[in-house]
Symmetry: C2
Subunit: 200 residues, 2 copies
DNA sequence: CACGTTATGATACGTCTGTATCAGATACGG
DNA sequence: CCGTATCTGATACAGACGTATCATAACGTG
């Protein structure tokens, strides 16, 4: 057997170059050539590991997704066990706000894909909506736990509140990225709202 | 004087063709040629009225903005005078949700521009943030009116609540456009929240 | 009718895109 | 050191893009 390279790792390296380009110049600036240049590799090699551009985009999306999932579980694992529901939800949502380079990239690329999905039904289910649904399930679990501990304010419907929190967090993230709100302002909005729906 | 044509009207006609293309196929599908075809006009004429693509995009954006402003004031004018604060705010926000073709287009193009603005500081102030700020001013006025009439719940900070409502509405609009929520669900979330911040 | 505005048509240029094809260089495991 | 996996380089292609440049047709006002 001759020279061997970890294909998965190479693909990850190229995917991260794609994410850097998208974060810096926008998703429209992502081309085979720009990704090759960013990752310090030949155009030919990008073709080698991702045959087409569609596969490149999809691969990078999945990579970004895995990475963020990891961040989430790391952060949530750092909470005391069992985590107080309010702290859990706040950490959960705060992690999704674009406050540092990593989460900024995640939100920007995520929103870029969402815009594509608005006019491309093919892309609509793949794999974003399902991912957001997964976040919704986790949030739902946290709120139900809060309710059973008597820490959820009366009149709060869990399903409605989950939809509310997801949409709010999304909108706050966008407002940060276009420079309309400072991250601290967004966090204040979120915190004030959590004060309303949690008791104590 | 020879043949005369209303340039403003022609530009509006072309701008509306652009908006239709953007709504159907996405902003990335907007090209000089596709806009010409959509408006049933020669490529040459698009160049005639908008010298460059940048001017075409800017002109169409302004056109869409004017149109939506008109829709807003029409709807708000249909309310009783003086409008009950809660009804005013609900109409105001509901109008921004993408529930029909017109508002769908507005939200889609708006989000597309927002994504561009995230990586293009040049585009960031022009003219979107300022436009959203204007909406914020109107909302602020409505909430202050509600407070002075004793219709705003205690513990509601007006500035924070305005930021909350704008972000929430934005996020709800996006969730509708990617097919994650039905318009009725989004309205229910909004209505439930307004129940919380308004008394009576 | 004549003149100038409005509009079309054909066509071209240079640039960028995704994709493809070729030969050949590099490096490591057996 | 041999062979094969890995990687590069040069180069090509057809298509789309924004922009530009012709000539010329249509048309309404004076």
């Amino acid at each position: 057997m001759p020279r061997t390279v970890d294909h998965t790792e190479r693909r990850a390296q190229i995917a991260e170059a794609l994410v850097r380009v998208a974060a810096r110049d926008g998703l429209h600036a992502v081309t085979m050539r720009s990704v090759a240049a960013e990752s310090g590799v030949s155009l030919r090699l990008v073709q080698y590991y991702f045959e087409t551009k569609a596969q490149l985009l999809l691969g990078a999306l999945r990579h970004l997704e895995r990475q963020s999932r990891q961040r989430w579980s790391d952060r949530l694992a750092a909470l005391p066990d069992p985590a107080p529901p309010r702290a859990f939800v706040e950490a959960f949502l705060d992690e999704a706000l674009p406050t540092d380079a990593q989460s900024r990239v995640f939100h920007l690329v995520g929103t870029s894909y969402a815009v594509l999905a608005m006019t491309d039904p093919e892309l609509a289910r793949e794999p974003f909506v399902s991912d957001v649904d997964e976040l919704g399930r986790q949030l739902t679990g946290a709120l139900e736990r809060a309710r059973s501990h008597g820490q959820l304010a009366e009149g709060v419907d869990v399903a409605t509140e989950v939809a509310h929190l997801l949409a709010l967090n999304n909108g706050l993230g966008t407002s940060i990225l276009i420079g309309q709100r400072a991250p601290s302002e967004a966090k204040a909005v979120l915190s004030a709202h959590l004060d309303r729906i949690f008791t104590g």
